[in-house]
Amino acid sequence: MLTIKDLLVKFPMRFGAFTAIEDVDMTIKPGEIHGLVGESGAGKSTVGAAVIGLLQSPGYVANGTLTLGDTDLRNLSPAEAHKVRGDRISMIFQDPQTSLNPLMTIERQLIETIQTHSSLSESEAINRAVDLLEDIGIKNAAERIKAYPHQFSGGMRQRVVIALAISTDPELIIADEPTTALDVAVQSQVLDLIQRLAKERQIAFMLITHDIGVIAQVADRVTVMRKGRVMETGVTAQVLGKPQHHYTQQLMDSVPPLDRKIDRFRVPEADDTIASNGAMAENWLLEGSQHARTGLSLTGLSVEFAGPRTSIFRKLPPYVALDDVTLNIKPGSIMGLVGESGSGKSTLAKAITGLVTPSSGTMELGDVVLPYGKSRSRQHPSRQLIQMVFQDPYSSLNSRHRIGDILTEPLWFYGFVKDEQEREKLAASMLSLVGMQPDAISKYPHQFSGGQRQRIAVARALLARPRFLICDEPTSALDVSIQAEILNLLKDLQAKFGLTILFISHNLAVVRQMADDTAVLRSGKIEEVGETNALYTAPQADYTKSLLDLTPVMPTTWQT
């Protein structure tokens, strides 16, 4: 049983010390899955690292008690601590790609771990490794154990990581975002496995995640953290179903529900966002949106990427990223596009914007046929009418340019406003329209948080006076409360200016909140298209059904 009391972790800095977590109390009983949830910077991972004794230097445990059973984890010599790690505490990391050694077979990695922590002989260790793999659901384990990590799929790899973690029969496993890098179907398998192991082997799990759905589905108890402090802790159904603390309440309000559509997220306006005025920018945009709303239709669109050349004479067949996609986005509507990673969502966006050259099919914006990729001239009107909001707000803004330069670039480039001061004024007004202080114009991107940067990215897209906006996973790099703000903002802007939006996301719940129509993409093919509500309540394709079933959600009875 793990007991944490008054845990205080500090990071000494050049000037004073930074307190990462403070007054954290927690107990995890054997066989219990304890969820640790919070937004980025909440100190969730620091708790896990402190328990396993792998705090990133120069961080150190400044106060509090950490005990596992009757071992005091704080007073261990390095050698003892090393023994406890692995023997009694194991860890599962987020990315199975990087937590396995790509140059060693699965067998060697398992045997190495097993033999380090026990006195089994080589052949006994192999038997044990095979048993472990069978147990966590890898078929033909005796053969597949000889494989290298790259020969396994992402979900299988994560299973191998779990096998490594349980190979020493630990009492506690710390799982740091174990399913964040996985698709929903694989995620649900891995979560099932974790649940089964907790029950069968009486292992205590500390499940660190930002995904409240995952917690709701598997955790017995949950601790909500924020800025290094525990906000609320208790039985999952209690904490998430009837939140006592207003922060938990707020967090729950920001989570998009999968089973119904809500008009707006109840998020408090943060201090740094102001009530959007920006009348000047609004008028300017409305002036531009006089001409009719513009739809987009794709007919039989296919994209192929040339296969790698294996020798001078042989070239592998091309990889089909999009296969005969036909999609009609009605003027002024939001089309949601969902699919797992690698399904071709981003390729579709790139084909529309001309970054990728399709192999066949037609794309029509309104009644203008869009030329393919490089054959689209730099002056083509679609370059202005189609704008994009990218996934990663940290790389979509040029970090060496002033916000003002970033925002006025489209105004200058498309020749909307000739006067430089006028451009700056309009850009400042646009900033207030997206809910930011106009004085941000003289700052640089690194001075803003992810959510603010995404607002700036939206402002930049709007300053091109687009009629068609592509949002490629615009919120998946953001915390859930920020996500709610950005989604609200996009909804408002869409309603105000009659934009047509292609909203791409892997998150079905988010798409449900945003989209009028939804298309489900799988391996480059459209599985199903339909009106969002109908598609979510009565999915036709089996694939859609399984996606909806496997997405972790909160039990309906909890909803307030």
Binding site: T353, Q384, N398, R400, F413
Partner: protein, 301 residues
């Protein structure tokens, strides 16, 4: 105060690094001395009237028989060593800096374009760079020197020696810039701000120089300092070997070559003082380069 220091973390690191301070001092003094050589030097090595053979072979002041006027002694012609070094550094730095500028413009331009366009253009540029890299810098310089001698009329050859030397050094240094610029550009090409700029339909030149270049400047600046040291050394090597500058226009390399005759004759200072000066200058510039790299790359701190 704390906020101020945090804002200028580079400055803070600098103040706390004695090596960087000494290196900067040496480099700055050399640059100033070289720039103002005509005003501060005792004699002008190019002007036969400004020195006298009677002052020849005087040792530095801390040895017997020295003339306090010549702190570091004189050479066989009676030239003051300090003056020779100042003028020598002047020439070395002019050649080094101009070669570096040519190499930077050529290398960064080609590297950016190779990274931006990729494909066949990239392949061609990089193969040329590989060939260039396979040839030792001295060989390149000898080659260019030979070609220049062959095609230029003898009358202007002497006047163009500096230009030929500069070009030879520049040609052996551009590869570094091209490779670094290309690799960094590849990284930036995947960033969404570059895709946004391309999507807008901005001209490639603008995307490359307005959007990408400011983001890859850090590593390029580091290469620039380190390569300045290589350029100075390369010039010294070539001059030492006698394919660089003639003896009457004393760069640091020429000074060392001339001093070689006195290596075993007791007048050691004529060789050792310019040599030690060259070493100090090159080491200082390299230390500054390492320091810059540390500032630009927080992970190495």
């Amino acid at each position: 105060m704390i906020a101020f220091v945090k804002k200028y973390e580079g400055l803070w690191l600098f103040v706390h690094s004695p090596a960087a301070i000494i290196a900067a001092l040496v480099a700055v003094l050399t640059f100033l001395g070289a720039a103002f050589a005509p005003w501060i030097a005792l004699v002008n090595p190019y002007d036969l009237a400004s020195f006298s053979l009677f002052d020849g072979l005087l040792p530095p002041t801390w040895l017997d028989g020295a003339n306090p006027k010549f702190i570091l002694g004189t050479d066989d012609q009676g030239r003051d060593m300090i003056s020779s070094i100042l003028y020598g550094a002047r020439l070395s730095l002019v050649i080094g800096l101009s070669a570096l500028s040519i190499a930077a413009v050529l290398g960064v331009g080609l590297g950016l374009a190779a990274g931006y366009y990729g494909g066949r253009f990239d392949a061609i540029v990089m193969r040329i760079a590989d060939v260039q890299l396979a040839l030792p810098a001295i060989l390149t310089a000898l080659l260019i020197d030979g070609i220049a001698r062959g095609i230029l009329p003898a009358s202007i050859q002497q006047d163009l020696r500096v230009a030929v030397l500069t070009l030879a050094i520049a040609l052996s240094l551009w590869v570094n810039f091209a490779r670094t610029a290309r690799a960094s550009t590849f990284v930036q090409m995947n960033k969404e701000y570059v895709q946004a700029a391309i999507m807008m339909g901005q001209r490639p030149i603008r995307v490359m120089f307005v959007h990408i270049l400011p983001n890859i400047l850090g590593p390029l600046l580091v290469i620039m300092t380190v390569d300045l040291a290589s350029a100075i050394l390369l010039e010294a090597t070539l001059s030492f070997l006698g394919i660089g500058l003639p003896a009457d226009s004393p760069s640091l390399g020429t000074l060392i070559r001339v001093g070689m005759q006195f290596l075993l004759s007791g007048e050691w200072w004529i060789l050792w003082i310019p040599t030690l000066f060259l070493v100090a200058l090159v080491v200082s510039i390299n230390i500054l380069g390492d320091f810059l790299r540390d500032i630009f790359n927080p992970r190495l701190r």
